[in-house]
Amino acid sequence: MITRRDWLTGAAAITGYSLLPMPLSATPADMQKAMRQAFGDSPISTGRVALTLPALAENGNSVRLSVAVDSPMTEKDHVEFIQLFAEANPLPDIARFELVALSGRAEIETRIRLAAEQRVVAVAGMNDGSLWSGSASIVVTIAACLEGLI
């Protein structure tokens, strides 16, 4: 009987690309846990945070991600941090960005790795202690774990 594993090994040999299984990846529950670890029991409201990902990434090794938080960015009222979490990466943490009133505009952009079709969440922490979140989902054609052998 041909096991799934054999199929994978055979395909890898044929194409020269190794299809190594991912290390155990995070789950939505792991992401919740990571968020709890970061924020304790503080309530997280939905809104004020716009997370943008392309609807489809052809390679999960480098996916453009931007976050914009609705905030005047004054001394009295500004974003202190934006933290990113992935639902189905090997590790749920992606990055944490610290901003100040001097940032002027609460917008960041970076490029991230995504191991599968999944949802990414951004949580923004305001200087009044409130937490806000936004999320986006993405389809990944080639996940960030295929590795060429040459």
């Binding site: 199929w7 299809l19 052809e58 599968a116 080639i142 295929l146």
Partner: protein
């Protein structure tokens, strides 16, 4: 969830796709080397750029964020610094700015009368290094050679490709052309089966392009780094389970001459970004 996830694509769909390609193609009676003017079997040449998703294209077009530019910058540094105080730098013979390299990459590979060999840009740079700088050649695919070849190629960005295949270059061209149409590997596929007869079809999450060399050295998201055209060719050989040559091998330089001739009229777009 703790299953052995296989990163998106299934092996099954891959096998089916490859078999479909093998079945869909017969060898055309073309591409046989001859003394007469060769004919291009593609009606319209399209850069690999046209086969990338919008986001990948945008990354290539962004002159700041294109990661290949990190290598161009490093190449510019190496251009000005020979690495040895006694030897001239590239810039001491070719000028500070690299302007003298404008258009050069668009007409390589080229026959070199002195060594009686066909040199691509990488080979030409190493030739200068040995002959004019008394230094040992850089290893193919080394960070230095990638950086210098990206820097030199970048000077020709936007310029139309036009290589010379007559005279002594012709034998090299002919063997590159034959290689392109020969079946090989356990999959028994030639380059043109994928890159001419199945252009636009999906293969393993990849959309098959025409296999044009215009963007190399290119930053592949899959590699997460810049790589040479020959590194890509090795992948294509292994992909049909054929024995690859080493990067920089004369067989690949010959094939590169054919590919570049086949790409004539297209513009140099190195460093390109590919999925």
């Amino acid at each position: 969830m703790s299953s052995n996830r296989s990163c998106g694509i299934t092996a099954h769909s891959l096998m089916l796709a490859l078999l479909a390609v093998a079945a869909a193609c017969e060898m055309p009676g073309t591409g046989v080397a001859s003394e007469s003017e060769p004919t291009r079997t593609l009606t319209q040449a399209l850069s690999g750029y046209e086969f990338q998703a919008e986001d990948t294209q945008a990354l290539q077009d962004d002159p700041f964020a294109n990661p290949g530019m990190l290598w161009v910058d490093q190449g510019q540094e190496l251009w000005r610094d020979a690495g040895s105080a006694d030897e001239p730098s590239c810039s001491s013979c070719h000028g500070e700015s690299g302007d003298s390299m404008r258009g050069v990459a668009a007409r390589y590979p080229a026959y070199d009368a002195e060594t009686q060999s066909l040199l691509n840009i990488e080979g030409r740079i190493n030739h200068c290094r040995e002959k004019h700088q008394q230094q040992s050649p850089y290893a193919y695919e080394s960070a230095e050679l990638l950086a210098l070849s990206a820097f030199v190629a970048h000077q020709s960005r936007g310029m139309p490709i036009d290589v010379f295949i007559d005279g002594p270059a012709r034998t090299f061209f002919d063997s590159g052309q034959s290689y392109f149409y020969e079946r090989r590997g356990q999959m028994n596929l030639a380059c043109h089966h994928c890159h001419e007869r199945n252009v636009g079809r999906m293969l393993r999450g990849d959309r098959l392009s025409q296999g044009q060399p215009t963007g190399y050295p290119a930053y592949r998201l899959e590699w997460q780094t810049l790589g040479s055209l020959h590194r890509r060719l090795r992948f294509c050989n292994v992909g049909v389970r054929a024995e690859p040559f080493s990067a920089g091998a004369p067989e690949y330089v010959n094939l590169e001459l054919f590919l570049t001739w086949r790409a004539r009229g297209l513009k140099v777009d190195a460093p390109a970004v590919r999925r």
